[in-house]
Amino acid sequence: MIAQSIVEERSSTAVPRMDAAVANPVEINDLTVAYRDNPVLQDIDLTVPEGKLAAIIGPNGAGKSTLIKAVLGLVPTVAGSVRIYGKPYAQQRRLIGYVPQRNSVDWDFPTTALDVVMMGTYGRLGWIRRPGKAERDFAMHCLAQVGMDGYADRQISQLSGGQQQRVFLARALAQNAHIYFMDEPFVGVDAVTERAIVALLRELQRQGKTVICVHHDLDSAPDYFDWVALLNVRLIASGPFETTFTADNLRKTYGGTMKAAIEHFQHFEEDRRGSRIEN
């Protein structure tokens, strides 16, 4: 509980309240990204409102991961601009947490779970300064938040895929951010991890944070998120699930002949009616 209050205290100092009141967490204008001559993302205009759990959904090769990377300045953009609370990303780094795809790193790297989580504090530390006891304690607290505090000293290759994913999430928590970008956090994880991630997303939302998640599973998307952006190189639609996640929009996103997507959608409609009553 003490640790919990530390987190909230820290984040309240980290968030520019003034900016938050006037600007949206993420505003993307006319963004175009190309690889050689092929557009990967074209003319993306997207604004994510404060406090949303947002899913970015689209078929393979739609540019979902690229969109996150472009916002974070990790891939060169051809045109367009990105604003974080009304300012360029470079000025707002401290407000952002990033969970890359799990398979983007070599998990046989000689390091421990706790050490990976501490990397989340490196941004605050800046150049040369080493993490100390405060960073270590905070990283332990972040591990505990994803139920991994018992694995702090494990070498990371000895963790299951789901546990590795939770370590990555804990590292993003250690960034103590206000906006979290997550790239496919639900891919290849066990049921325990899936529940842990969902609980974490809800907790982040309760704390007023904004989460933007690349997600591939149309079935679970409406249950886990409350806001969606449908993407296929271009932005097809964005907004709350109720008005955005329609058969028509899904057909546009996945291609008119993609029957599977539509079936998914109908399945979801039925499900949603059921789950609304339960909730």
Binding site: L72, R93, F109, P110, T111, V116, M119, Y122
Partner: protein, 297 residues
Amino acid sequence: MGGLIELFSDYTLRNVALGSALLGVVSGVLGCFAVLRRQGLLGDALAHAALPGICLAYLLTASKTPVVLLLGAAVAGWLATLLILQIVKHTRISEDGALGIVLSTFFAFGIVLLTFITKRSDAHQSGLDKFLFGQAATLVEEHVITMAVLGGAALGMVALLYKEFKLLAFDAPFAASLGFDTNVLSVLLTSLIVIAIVIGLQTVGVVLMAAMLIGPAVAARQWTDRLGVMIIIAALFGAGAGVAGALISVSDEGIPTGPMIILSLTVIVLCSLFFAPARGLVWDALRRTRQRAALAK
């Protein structure tokens, strides 16, 4: 005991031992980062690319001062790195393809220059041919001091930027998202690897220098799951192999040092691969046999 006393009283032996120990420590430490970033081959390309640099430095200045020759090597290594990066960026040639092209082109050019120098001057007057396979016996105090200064600077940088280099090696995009300039870090780390190579050129030679980066790191990785420990073990292994190989080669006239060091290193690598506690292949096989026996019961 007698051998040890002789080692430090004999001027030549002392220089040889100190020089190769230094080279082992520096290449062991930097090799860890090269191996973890899967850049072992880059080290090979840089080492081979150093040869024309050494030859041109000699041709231009007619000086055999180690600082001048090593500077030539460093500049050539640097140019090779830039060339590789540009090829990967602007063509559809993959990184290993680019490494192969640059490595062989620079080395071929170096051999041509070396032949030209050897023919022009009195056969071995230039002494540049020792850079092919290394000749530790030619190490004098001046060389050892140059190596110590360069190596000390490189190790100092690693100590200072340990956190940043670790993050770069593990997850470069994440490092970039935090605001660390990964291009600068990457170029810096590669430059330090160039220094490690330059330090080893006279002792190990351009042909085998890459093994001096890769071997200690690979062996050390078998014994630990912590980067900090791995770096220390790699430094010790590098120094051990360096000193052992150099002393063997000096004991008999005409044995090139590079191959002896690499063979000593191979013994260390093989022992580590087979017998290291957690990852050793021998214990692996034993565990499997026991499990099979337990299951059979």
